[in-house]
């Protein structure tokens, strides 16, 4: 199971890295999705290993939540684009100090 977890962790880190270094909103959302899916992978692997079902249930919930979040994300992204005319997050620097 360790290997699964390691893979999951690597995916998680990739996602996190993506969130950190990319400036395009859409890509950032995708990276976030990646992080969630890394978690999902971990759950599936774990529940399979422990042959329990609860992990899989959790995964389903996570997928639902991720979907909902994606909806919100796009809503906010559109609003942002409408105001700023771009999806570059560096444009979001009105609130500071």
């Amino acid at each position: 199971m360790d290997n699964y977890l390691i893979v999951a962790s690597m995916i998680f880190c990739i996602g996190a890295l993506g969130v950190i270094i990319r400036k395009n909103l859409i890509v950032i959302f995708m990276s976030l999705e990646l992080m969630f899916n890394a978690a999902n992978l971990g759950f599936v692997a774990a529940s399979n290993r422990l042959n329990l079902i609860s992990g899989d249930i959790f995964v389903i919930f996570v997928i639902v939540v991720a979907a909902a979040e994606a909806a919100i994300a796009l809503g906010i992204a559109i609003a942002f684009y409408r105001e700023k005319g771009t999806v570059d997050i560096d444009m979001a620097n009105e609130l500071k100090n």
Binding site: A16, V19, I20, K23, D90, A92, N93, K96, N97
Partner: protein, 627 residues
């Protein structure tokens, strides 16, 4: 309540009442307050005389009016110790005060502070009485400072004059310096003997180690040096002449300044058990006597001349108590009080006649204008220069003879030289002021003073003549001695008589010295045998030194006052504002700086936020793994 106790407490009560009355209702009394005030003091004078006879024919007693300060084991009551010494002082103080009060009615006539003047004068009399009769050191100290305050307020009586208020302040502060020593002495005395009552203290002293006694005695003496204007703290007294002349007569000649001598006589046990301390007293006294007389030689301000002579005479008294012959000291104190009071009053009358003129160089030939003044003044002068049968002769000789017979020859020689100088400067004053050709501008309005002023002068003059006869047969079996010496029986005789030269020989010498001084003055200022200017030019450096009062004031100012002020200013402007407060404000500024930095973290950049977040997470994980 016993009659004598009633009398005892009535004596201070009258002046106290006077103080309140004139202080609060003064403006309703107008000129009347002067008369009533004098009446009050006269009343306490009469009571003191009664008390004097009570004590003289029975014995002393003590009484406590009410418990004053009881804290822990510290106990001090408001209580009186009436013995022969204190009754003599009482009579002297109240007597002279009465005369001065009467005199002041005339002198202060028309002054807008008339009532204020009398209220403070009454307060002074009250404090002086309490000082004399108190029977524990705390009470003594209280009134020791109270009289100082009265002198402060009365010197600065004409407060609009900067010089006057300066002089008052100077007097108070210099006295404080002395009192500082006095206070510390009291502390030390208390921690060694656990009490401040005279009897118990004196009982304890013989068993106290000598060096402790010496320290105590020296500290107490510091107080006396301040109060009685001895070197090096005498500087306030000449300036004190800024006050009204009667005040100078009462406070700065007759009573307050002699408190130091009284104090030493009162604490004869302490001082006599510490020969070293007495030695110091003698040395200081001798030096001051000579030093002041030397300055007095060349002054032109008549009041200052008399002031310096007062300092010098106080020096004599300290010589006396310094060699343990307390009766002689007190005797000289009394007679000096009389004739010096007389001299001041007459000087005041001269001023009054010349509308406040003090400069000898502007005087001359006043004899014809104001005969009473002149005669009384000359009486005073003769008494001062110790010419028989005037009181000064007996008292000063009692002192000098004791000094000689106790074997302090050097002090004795100094004393004789001082006597010569004394005679010279006082008669220089007399000749310049009353004889010689009148100065034209004075003659117009020079006039004799009203009777209310002259009568006290005459009374004092009479006393200046007769009081000396208490001193016969001279010295150690005189009336005065026999009356008083019982009070000093506890004194430890540290300076026994080494030779008993008969008194007349010693007297002859000092009378000769006095006459010599007078003759010199006569040659210089009447006969004009030599031109004073020539003498000046011969002794130029000496003259300049004496004329400028040996620059003592300047030296103090330059060495002490100025540097201290600079230091204080530094303390405030640099240490307080810059260093301490600067540190406090610095901390605040530092925090402001941090704040500016901290808010730079919050730069609005989403990326950096995510970075901080993930770095935080990584840090936590790292923290876990490294430990």
């Amino acid at each position: 309540m016993d009659l004598k106790i009633l009398i005892t407490w009535l004596i201070p009560l009258f002046p106290l009442a006077g103080w309140f009355l004139w202080g609060i209702f003064g403006k309703y009394f107008k000129g009347l307050s002067g008369y009533i005030a004098s009446g009050f003091v006269a009343a306490s004078f009469i009571l003191s005389v009664i008390l004097f006879f009570i004590v003289a024919y029975s014995h002393g007693f003590t009484d406590t009016l009410y418990p004053w300060v009881y804290a822990g084991i510290f106990k001090a009551g408001v209580s009186a110790d009436i013995d022969r010494l204190s009754v003599i002082m009482l009579v002297m103080v109240t007597g002279i005060s009465t005369l001065v009060h009467v005199y002041s009615i005339g002198y202060m006539k028309g002054d807008k502070g008339f009532s204020r003047y009398f209220s403070f004068l009454n307060l002074f009399v009250f404090s002086m009485i309490m000082l004399v009769i108190s029977n524990n050191l705390l009470l003594l100290y209280v009134f020791w400072e109270a009289v100082g305050f009265c002198s402060y307020i009365l010197i600065g009586f004409w407060y609009e004059r900067k010089s006057a208020s300066d002089a008052g302040k100077k007097a108070f502060i210099v006295n404080r310096i002395g009192d500082f020593g006095f206070a510390v002495g009291i502390f030390l005395l208390f921690v060694t003997t656990k009490t401040l009552n005279y009897e118990t203290v004196f009982a304890a002293i013989p068993s106290v180690p000598a060096y402790t006694t010496t320290i105590i005695a020296l500290l107490l003496f510091a107080g006396a040096v301040g109060k009685s204007a001895q070197f090096p703290l005498y500087i306030w007294l000449p300036d004190a002449m800024e006050g009204p002349t009667p005040v100078s007569a009462l406070i700065h000649a007759a009573t307050m300044v002699t408190a130091g001598v009284y104090m030493i006589a009162r604490f004869h046990v302490i001082f006599s058990y510490s020969p070293a301390a007495s030695e110091v007293v003698l040395i200081i006294g001798t030096f001051t006597a000579f030093f002041a007389a030397f300055i007095a030689l060349t002054q032109f301000d008549i009041k200052r001349i008399i002031a310096y002579s007062t300092i010098s005479q106080l020096g004599y008294m300290f010589m006396a108590v310094g060699i343990g012959s307390y009766t002689a000291g007190i005797f000289h104190l009394i007679s000096h009080a009389v004739f010096k009071g007389l001299l001041f009053l007459t000087a005041g009358s001269v001023m009054h006649g010349l509308s406040g003129e003090l400069d000898l160089r502007k005087m001359g030939g006043l004899y014809s204008k104001m005969k009473t003044t002149a005669v009384t003044f000359i009486v005073g002068g003769l008494a001062l220069s110790g010419i028989p049968p005037f009181s000064g002769f007996f008292s000063k000789d009692a002192v000098l003879a004791d000094i000689y017979n106790k074997g302090f020859y050097f002090a004795w020689i100094i004393g004789e030289i001082t006597a010569l100088m004394t005679a010279f400067y006082i008669f220089r004053l007399i000749f310049l002021a009353f004889f010689g050709e009148p100065k034209p501008d004075q003659n117009k309005h020079a006039h004799e003073s009203p009777q209310i002023m002259t009568i006290p002068m005459i009374i004092l003059a009479v006393f200046a003549v007769i009081i000396g006869f208490l001193g016969i047969p001279p010295f150690n079996d005189s009336l005065f001695y026999n009356f008083l010496h019982t009070d000093f029986k506890n004194a430890y005789n540290f300076a026994p008589f080494v030779n008993n030269t008969p008194w007349y020989i010693l007297s002859l010498i000092s009378v000769f010295a006095g006459l010599l001084g007078i003759y010199a003055a006569y040659l210089l200022y009447i006969k004009k045998a030599f031109d004073p200017e020539r003498i000046k030019s011969i002794f130029k450096p000496v003259y300049v030194l004496s004329y400028n009062k040996v620059y003592i004031d300047e030296i103090y100012n330059f060495l002490i006052v100025k540097p201290l002020l600079v230091f204080f200013d530094f303390l405030w402007k640099v240490i307080d504002v810059k260093v301490i407060d600067g540190a406090v404000n610095g901390i605040a500024l530092a925090f402001a700086g941090f704040s500016a930095k901290a808010r730079r973290i919050q730069n609005g950049m989403l990326m950096s936020y995510i970075l901080t977040l993930s770095i935080g997470a990584a840090a936590l994980l790292l923290y876990y793994f490294i430990r």
